[in-house]
């Protein structure tokens, strides 16, 4: 008998027609025997019915904006495109700003110190002279020497393909620590040199670049623990290729 007495929740479910058919029949029977409860339930149901009637067409007010599905979709697409466009503009602005900033920094620094100025100086002082620590015409010999002094450097590439044979190398030092100058020469006696050292204060992450300094041209880059510079005659067209080979090998 207890099972037959519906809970308050069940009475609501009865009004909303959410009971299983058998339970619905049971509740109906119970309500027939309990007229007072039945009146309460009827009142709820009447309220709901009156509300439904009163609210019919309520959303359909004059002046209501008509929404066309296709139109909304088109608008959404446009908005997405606009957003993408804004993002692109923002990226561009950031890029221009960043690049400009970087270049401004370069210019500022260049006022005080040119990148790898010491490489050009070393080339001027030592590349022409015979005052090198070692004389080496064999690339492997030079490679071994480099590996002995700078253990975190890559393979020194063979520059024979560009017409350059090793001449020798010299160990140097400046305030950044040890540095090395490797000198190469072609058949005509034209000399180029590779300079490497620890990064300086201002050029910790030095961007790859090149600059002409008088008769000389320096190509410089950073890799691993060192900064590198290839110094060659400004009019030597092989500079770019040699620089590239060194940059990839070291």
């Amino acid at each position: 008998m207890t099972r037959l007495i519906p809970s308050e929740d069940e009475l609501h479910a009865y009004v909303d027609d959410r009971l299983t058919p058998p339970r619905r029949a049971e509740v109906q029977a119970w309500l027939a025997a309990n007229p007072q409860e039945a009146a309460r339930i009827d009142a709820w149901r009447n309220d709901a019915r009156r509300l439904r009637a009163a609210l019919a067409g309520f959303g359909d007010q004059p002046g209501a904006a008509q929404l066309d599905l296709g139109q909304v979709q088109r608008r959404l697409r446009q908005r997405r495109q606009r957003r993408l466009a804004s993002a692109a503009v923002l990226l561009l602005a950031l890029g221009v700003g960043g690049l400009g900033g970087w270049q401004a920094r370069q210019v500022t620094l260049a006022g005080n110190e040119l990148p790898m100025a010491d490489a050009v100086q070393a080339h001027r002082l030592f590349a022409g002279s015979e005052a090198l620590d070692i004389q080496a015409s064999d690339p492997t010999q030079l490679r071994d020497w480099l590996g002995r002094h700078f253990n975190r450097v890559g393979q020194l590439p063979d520059l024979t393909g560009y017409g350059f044979q090793p001449v020798g190398a010299r160990l140097l030092s400046n305030e950044q620590g040890p540095a090395a100058l490797l000198v190469f020469q072609d058949r005509a006696g034209q000399r180029i040199s590779l300079f490497l050292r620890s990064p300086g204060q201002h050029y910790e992450r030095m961007p790859q670049g090149q600059r002409v300094d008088g008769q000389l041209e320096a190509r410089y880059w950073s890799h691993g623990a060192y900064n590198f510079a290839l110094v060659s005659a400004a009019d030597d067209v092989r500079g770019a290729g040699v620089g590239e080979a060194l940059r990839l090998g070291l």
Binding site: E8, D47, L51, R52, G59, A64, L67, L69
Partner: protein
């Protein structure tokens, strides 16, 4: 969503707008709410839903958007009050809604329920959502749905039949 024909779509929009009107009490905001709902639904309509599930889902989106808007409004009001502007209690209906409500005793009683009670009665009694769907839409546990439904029906009963109270809505002109 695109399976609906023109007639079904218009009817669905009307239902959404009715719900939105009773939440916001303001035709302009209600239209914004409906539009926001449709846009969001279109942006996420990868999943196929049958007509009933689609309806429940749209009500869910609409109610969430409404709550988000309320939250923003409260935040805004707090900001304003910090800057010396008093908070404004908004209870009256805007536009022509007020006239319609005033014209019908049943709606007057309904209008005096709390916003939560109104939302629930609309979803369950008018829109025919299941208790579970209503719970999802209103972000409340199903137990709360049942107790709120019970209180809402009792309150509506009392307002409709019980002690006659002066109408809460009055046009002041």
């Amino acid at each position: 969503m695109h399976d609906l024909d023109e007639q079904q779509w218009r009817e669905l929009l009307q239902r959404l707008r009715r719900f939105a009107l009773w939440l916001t009490r303001e035709p302009g905001s209600a239209d914004d709410l409906v539009q926001g709902t449709v846009e969001r639904a279109l942006a996420r309509s990868s999943q196929q839903r049958d007509a009933d599930a689609l309806r429940a889902w749209l009500f869910t989106i609409l109610y969430r958007l409404f709550l988000d808007g309320k939250r923003r409004e409260r935040l805004h009001a707090r900001w304003l009050s910090w800057f010396g502007h008093a908070e404004r209690e908004e209870e009256a209906f805007g536009g022509n809604i007020e006239n319609i409500v005033l014209a019908q005793a049943d709606l007057q009683a309904f209008a005096r329920l709390s916003a939560e009670q109104r939302a629930l009665l609309l979803l369950v009694s008018i829109e025919g959502l299941s208790y579970k769907e209503a719970a999802v839409a209103l972000q409340i546990p199903i137990g709360t749905v049942m107790s709120r439904l019970s209180r809402a029906r009792a309150a509506l009963r009392e307002l409709t039949e019980g002690n006659p109270q002066p109408p809460a809505l009055r046009r002041l002109k």
